[in-house]
């Protein structure tokens, strides 16, 4: 398939393919991660990413095939199970979210490493270096990889858009939603499962660190700029897309520069800028508010504005 030069902005084919894939992941991760962060589950993406390892190892052990589809399927099962476990822990025990996430993350990752080591020791073909799966191979994205990423990302964003009312209601006040007859726990599960899906699909393309970061950083940055849900999710998506695009292009300029970390650094840069510069929530704005004119003494007649 020849790409007309004019469409390519003068960029090489591989750069375009990688940019498309990473931008898709960035956009969807930002949107899906937005609700997750609001729900106080920012690290669920990290748990999902690490749990993928045990799923990948298990899939290889069970089927003996090291094909991407098989490994991803196994990874997906494990990732969804891990975040589902987090939801259950939150619901049925008194364990705090951060402790639960740390436990699920490290236990599943440890299990994965043990499985892989065992397989390598027994000479199971294809088992050596399986843990590199988590690192991704961004520069080696093919057009079909990018297409898959695009489709999954679009589907994830569509899910959020269609179910926004339900998702927001449950994220904000699950007790009210449940009392009104909504299956709050199930909707919660779908939300975290979406994160798990994004993470697993994004893993081979972008690596665990990148995907986890894109699920958390853009929403936090976006929160500095808006007080409304839809703008927040939109801004998070945009930051994800832009960080992805810019990161890919920048990493293509210097040799031996891995794309994933550059994208993460850019997203983090956006966050830093947002934290400082954003109106009303930013550091500068708050500093100015403190130094501003003193408020008038309240009138005794009108009383408190309650």
């Amino acid at each position: 398939m020849m790409l007309p030069a004019i469409l390519a902005f003068g960029l090489p084919y591989n750069t375009l393919v990688v940019a498309a894939g990473v931008a898709a992941v960035g956009g969807a991760a930002g949107v899906v991660g937005g609700l997750s962060v609001l729900r106080g589950r920012a690290l669920s993406g990290d748990a999902a990413a690490h749990a993928t390892l045990v799923g990948v190892a298990g899939a290889l052990l069970a089927t003996g095939q090291r094909s991407l589809a098989v490994l991803l399927a196994g990874g997906l099962v494990a990732a969804v199970a891990a975040v589902g476990l987090l939801v259950l822990i939150r619901r049925f025990t008194r364990t705090r979210d951060d402790a639960a996430t740390a436990t699920v993350l490290s236990v599943s990752f440890g299990l994965g490493i043990v499985l892989i080591s065992g397989m390598v020791a027994r000479g199971v073909p294809g088992s050596a270096g399986l843990e590199r799966f988590l690192l991704g191979h961004t520069a080696a994205l093919t057009a079909s990889d990018a297409l898959l990423l695009g489709l999954v990302s679009a589907a994830a964003i569509a899910c959020v858009a269609i179910g926004l009312k339900e998702a927001t209601m449950v994220a904000f006040d699950p007790a009210f939603a449940a009392a009104a007859g909504w299956p709050a726990a199930a909707i919660d599960m779908v939300l975290v499962a979406l994160v798990a899906v994004m993470v697993v699909v994004g893993l081979p393309a972008a690596g665990a660190v990148l995907v986890t970061a894109l699920v958390v950083i853009p929403p936090v940055a976006a929160r500095q700029w808006t007080d409304r849900i839809v703008p927040l999710l939109a801004i998070a998506g945009v930051i994800g897309v832009v960080s992805g695009l810019a990161g890919v292009v920048i990493s293509s300029l210097a040799p031996r520069l891995p794309t994933g970390p550059v994208v993460v650094l850019l997203a983090a840069g956006w966050l830093a800028v947002s934290l400082v510069v954003a109106p009303s929530r930013g550091l500068i704005a708050r500093w100015r508010a403190r130094r501003g004119p003193r408020p008038d003494a309240p009138s005794l007649v009108s009383g408190r504005d309650g």
């Binding site: 009312k165 904000f172 309650g306």
Partner: protein, 270 residues
């Protein structure tokens, strides 16, 4: 123990008609630890009903169990004789304020719209009808001017009124409120009470967990005194007697003792 199985508001008779709300031997336990024990009580007609008791007595649990938010270990709850699953549409819940993250990026109107849209089907959005309803509810609680404000930038009383407006937007027949006056200044409390009284006057049942004995006597038509078991239930003055209060708040005597006596005498404290 002073048990009153059925309660009637002074204004109506109830013989033969199905009670609005009936707790039948309701027991809730977390593992081996009981939180509510054999609560048996009927509310026959619309009123402002208070659930009073010391901390940890199971008051919130009573609400949550009624709404299916915590599992019921024994007994049952019936609304108009029906189980919860059939009548959810006619119920509304106002949870405690601290259960929500007030930094959530939604405005006052967004929250009330959540209430209006909670009756809609899957994936259906709030339309013009819901917006008008939400606007009305905001009006009734006096927050129309703050419709666009992010909820974290409200005072305690305003936040409570947002929650109330959200519940109103469900256009329910029974309202459950968990500590609606907690952390709210006196002026707002009167405002909120006026809204609740309006609901009662419109024929709705309002069940509220309340912590302040003083105002309880003034505001609620009837009440139940709960300390894991039902200590007493009936018209408020008959329930909040010094004997009952001493029995329930045992160990916290002294000021409550005095308060109880003052309440029984109908003395108004400023």
């Amino acid at each position: 123990m002073n048990l009153r199985p059925a309660t009637e508001s002074p204004a109506s008779s109830s013989t033969g008609s199905i009670p609005l709300l009936e707790w039948h031997d309701l027991t809730v336990a977390y593992g081996r630890r009981p939180v509510l024990w054999n609560v048996d009580l009927e509310i026959a007609s619309p009123c402002l009903f208070g659930i009073i008791g010391p901390n940890g007595a199971g008051k919130s649990t009573l609400l949550k169990a009624s709404l299916g938010l915590v599992p019921v270990t024994g007994g049952s709850v019936r609304f108009w004789g029906e189980p919860l699953s059939r009548v959810r549409r006619r119920l509304a819940y106002v949870p405690q304020r601290e259960t929500v993250d007030w930094d959530f990026p939604v405005s006052v109107m967004d929250v009330v719209l959540m209430g209006a849209a909670s009756q809609l089907g899957w994936f259906r959005r709030a339309g013009r009808r819901e917006r008008e309803l939400a606007g009305d509810c905001l009006d009734r609680v006096g927050l129309t001017d703050l419709a666009g404000r992010q909820i974290g930038r409200l005072s305690g009383g305003q936040q409570q009124r947002v929650f109330l407006a959200r519940a109103l937007a469900r256009e329910a027949d029974i309202y459950f409120l968990d500590e609606p006056m907690a952390g709210v200044d006196a002026g707002s409390q009167e405002q909120i009470f006026a809204i609740l009284a309006g609901l009662r006057d419109a024929g709705k049942l309002v069940v509220a967990v309340h912590h302040d004995l003083q105002t309880a006597a003034r505001w609620f038509d009837a009440a139940a005194l709960i300390d894991m078991r039902l200590v007493a239930a009936g018209p408020t003055a008959e329930v909040l007697t010094p004997e009952n209060l001493e029995q329930t708040y045992a160990g916290r005597r002294g000021i409550l003792d005095e308060l109880g006596r003052a309440v029984a005498r109908g003395v108004r404290t400023p």
